[in-house]
């Protein structure tokens, strides 16, 4: 196991290097620059600002310099927010995304597993069709529709919550539901699929034949194998959830990191783009590693591979 983790860890180094390199050159190839504004700035002032941030150096030299800074853990200054560094912005914005993501994950797992298990146990009954149809709708209804609908119902009409913001405990409810519902729908469908496959296996029939009760069969024998697809799905999904959702953060005014992924590219905030891309990449890699470890633990077959 240790060798497996060490090997996977070493593999991440070239992956991050390639991502950083691709991000650097793709960003610089995009037309327009960080200092272009509606009211154009005199060329010499633009040149001075570029020099201040080292953007006047040859491109390859800039690339080497940025790689050096990245190795030192210095993500650089933000062009859009001149008084702040990218490290500071990520440190400021990430906690809100992390919290929202964790709450949405709880919603997704609670709703998704319950619906998926019920459906798989009552296959082809109303308790299967109804949650699965709703899950399909949940997948199809985008968050930018779900969010305003929930706000309209629970904030504007019933007046139970604020329409947006991130200050009080109750401000967490609607964004977590909006973001969680979408993932819950996937979890429900994957759980149902995985469980149905397992429930038809011989060893389940054997367990039943030996007189094991329904709950024992379900939780001791079936669930471990049945949720494997969910676990595989959760790796990248959790990375996406925890690092922030642009749409949900925008609709609910959540001061998270998700917005920066999008706006930094629009602003040509080069260092911010690099910082947020690498941050997300590290998250995806680490969580995929965690998922692989969990899968090996859950599925004895994988230990031989």
């Amino acid at each position: 196991m240790f060798r497996f983790i060490a090997r996977r860890f070493l593999e991440t180094i070239p992956v991050l290097f390639i991502i950083a390199t691709a991000t650097f050159f793709m960003m610089r190839m995009a037309p327009g620059g960080p200092f272009d504004k509606e009211k154009s700035i005199p060329a010499d002032i633009k040149a001075r600002m570029a020099a201040h941030y080292g953007l006047d150096k040859p491109l390859f030299q800039q690339y080497l310099l940025q790689m050096k800074h990245l190795l030192e853990g210095n993500l650089g200054p933000s062009f859009k927010y001149p008084g702040r560094t990218v490290n500071e912005i990520i440190a400021d914005a990430f906690p809100a995304s992390l919290e929202l993501g964790a709450e949405a994950l709880l919603v997704a797992l609670a709703m998704g597993l319950a619906a998926g298990l019920t459906a798989s146990l009552k296959q082809n009954s109303a308790l299967d069709h109804l949650p699965m149809s709703l899950a399909m709708i949940g997948i199809c209804v985008p968050t930018f529709v779900m969010g305003p609908l929930l706000i309209s119902a629970f904030a504007l009409h019933l007046d139970w919550f604020n329409a947006a913001g991130w200050f009080f405990a109750r401000d967490r409810v609607l964004p977590a539901l909006t973001l969680g519902a979408y993932y819950a729908a996937y979890v429900a469908r994957l759980t149902r699929g995985g469980m149905l496959e397992i429930l038809h296996q011989d060893y389940i029939r054997t367990a039943r034949a030996k007189g094991a009760g329904g709950a024992r069969v379900l939780f001791k024998h079936a669930l471990r194998g049945g949720i494997l697809p969910v676990v595989s799905f959760l790796g990248p999904a959790v990375a996406g959830l925890l690092t922030g959702s642009f749409v949900v953060e925008t609709i609910f005014g959540v001061p998270g990191l998700g917005r920066f992924f999008v706006t930094s590219a629009f602003n040509r905030d080069y260092f911010m783009v690099m910082g947020s891309v690498l941050f997300y990449a590290v998250f995806v890699i680490v969580l995929n590693l965690v998922v692989d470890i969990v899968l090996v633990w859950l599925d004895p077959k994988l230990r031989f591979e």
């Binding site: 327009g32 009211k39 001149p82 912005i89 139970w160 409810v173 602003n267």
Partner: protein, 540 residues
């Protein structure tokens, strides 16, 4: 969906029960009680350094933290006493002597002196700072040369502080709009010793503006600043006019999404939403007019013609395009936020100036002009396109114009949509035929618009130039005689309307939503707010 909504409802009920449900006191009501004004400010400020940061959301906050020599009158943005309690102007209009009030203080208790202004203006002119608005200081003797690094001795620049409470500005030539210009945040004093504590004076990313560090001289103090969440300023007890400030604090919410901010307004989280979504303006106008506050800005929406490319190098083609559209229809059925059609570049009543030269909408005359230019009934008209940037409703306007040109001139014009920075790159390099543009005045004077079209000006970007126009703006208009000055502008604007390097479409309005609890809030054409005079009064 029902399934999820049911569960959502159950969860919501539970939480509402835990957190106290039912008709609760809204944040606006809490604000009324505590004297806290809550504003949806439209964007996260890039920063709060008055010499570096330039946008409106930044200005809305900086005006609470700093005060210049002159202050804007909230009714019309005209200059009234600020740190300077009075000023004298020499008969030739070149020397301005400001007499500073003796009771003005920084928030750390130090007095605000003429030396502070002398050192602050030194900083904004430092070449390495790269201040975008350093150009506002160019009327001052030698300021441009210093900013461009041609001279390095700041003593040669026309700023002097003969004593602690007298500040003298010497100009190169009379500039009657100097005082209106000084209302802008780039003329605020900055706390030099504080800035030095946190880095180099000329470092634009010096982090001196963070809460706990920022020292200001305005009516409020920076208390909290959390990125994308909020900025909180509280009343500054050391401000010279603190007794007249009625609000205890102002809470700026930087929500960028128009719809989100409007929903926050509706759910009682904001007293003021500075930018209502255009799609909702008609609703508010009809059903809740007491909440809607819209006022034309000194800001024009127009199209640029690239006059270096045929067929737009022919004035008759430009005139035909400009005369064959229906601006009123665009304002009323496409833009729909209360915009006003405009037939010249400078919005009406800019510092009392309204252009006499006005473009006439006349499709028949436009067809004749197009025929004279060699394209009768649009025949053989080359393929050209309109460039606009993504978002902010530019596409429907471009489509409407495309239709109007097809109908009235029988020409096909293509549309080209580009992402914001790509669009800026294209217009700067003149890689377009017709391009959307917008211009808001930096100060209340026609020159803020008419200087745009000076030959080779950075924001001209049309390739157009006219020696007589340049002479009128750069030479003739620099006179103390107001009538002669405006006469020069009238002549210049007539040249612009005849030559038509730009196609004016409408004057922007800023539709805001304001609850009636907010008292003494004065809208003005430069969109500069005076929070000192505002108070809150709950509606019963």
């Amino acid at each position: 969906m029902y399934f999820f909504l049911t569960r959502a409802a159950i969860a919501a009920c539970f939480l509402a029960a835990v957190t106290g449900c039912g008709r609760r006191e809204t944040l606006v009501q809490v604000g009324d009680r505590e004297g806290m004004l809550r504003i949806g400010n439209g964007a996260e400020p890039a920063g709060l350094d008055p010499q570096v940061d330039t946008g409106e959301p930044e200005h809305d906050i900086m005006i609470t933290l700093f005060e210049g020599l002159v202050d804007p009158d909230p009714r019309d943005s005209s200059p009234v006493p600020g740190v300077a309690e009075r000023w004298d102007i020499s008969p030739d209009g070149k020397i301005y002597t400001f007499h500073l009030r003796k009771n003005a203080h920084w928030s750390n208790g130090d007095p605000v002196t003429a030396r502070d202004f002398l050192e602050s203006y030194h900083r904004i002119l430092m070449p390495a700072l790269g201040a975008e608005y350093a150009y506002m200081f160019y009327p001052v003797a030698n300021a441009q040369a210093f900013n461009e690094g041609k001279i390095t001795n700041y003593d040669e620049v026309g700023f002097k502080a003969p004593d602690d409470f007298t500040f003298v500005i010497t100009l190169d030539k009379p500039t009657p709009y100097l005082l209106p210009m000084m209302v802008h945040n780039s003329w605020y004093p900055v706390p030099i010793s504080t800035i030095k504590k946190y880095g180099a004076l000329d470092d634009p990313s010096n982090p001196w503006t963070k809460p706990g560090r920022l020292v200001g001289n305005g009516p409020f103090l920076l208390k909290e600043w959390k990125i994308n969440s909020h900025i909180l300023v509280v009343r500054n007890p050391s401000y010279w006019g603190a007794n007249d400030v009625r609000l205890n604090s102002i809470y700026f919410d930087p929500e960028e999404n128009y719809d989100t901010a409007e929903r926050m307004f509706r759910s009682g989280q904001l007293h003021i939403d500075l930018q209502a979504p255009p799609s909702k303006v008609a609703f508010y106008r009809k059903y809740k007019p007491n909440l809607l506050n819209d006022y034309p800005l000194l800001s024009t929406y127009y199209y640029r013609f690239n006059v270096t490319k045929p067929p737009l190098n022919d004035k008759r083609v430009r005139q035909a395009l400009a005369m064959s559209i229906d601006r009123r229809a665009i304002c009323e059925t496409v833009a729909r936020a209360g915009e006003q059609p405009i037939f010249c570049l400078t919005p009406p009543n800019t510092a009392g100036y309204t252009a006499k030269a006005q473009l006439k909408e006349d499709p028949a005359a436009a067809r004749r002009l197009l025929a004279e230019a060699g394209y009768p009934d649009g025949k053989n008209f080359p393929t050209i396109d309109v460039l606009f940037n993504t978002g902010a409703g530019h596409k429907p306007i471009a489509e409407a114009l495309q239709q109007m040109w097809k109908k009235n001139l029988n020409i096909n014009i293509l549309l080209r949509n580009e992402e914001w920075k790509v669009y800026l790159d294209s217009t700067e390099h003149m890689d377009y035929f017709i391009a959307r543009a917008g211009w808001g005045a930096d100060y209340d004077d026609p020159s803020s618009f008419l200087e745009l079209s000076i030959t080779g000006g950075g924001n001209n970007q049309t390739g157009w130039g006219n020696p007589e126009y340049d002479r009128l703006i750069e030479v003739v208009s620099h006179t103390q005689d107001q009538a002669a000055r405006y006469d020069a502008y009238q002549k210049a604007e007539a040249i612009l309307v005849d030559e038509m390097p730009v196609l004016p479409i409408y004057v922007y309005t800023r539709p805001r939503l304001i609850v009636p609890d907010v008292k003494n809030w004065a809208p003005n054409p430069l969109d500069i707010y005076d929070y000192k005079a505002v108070w809150l009064e709950p509606q019963h």
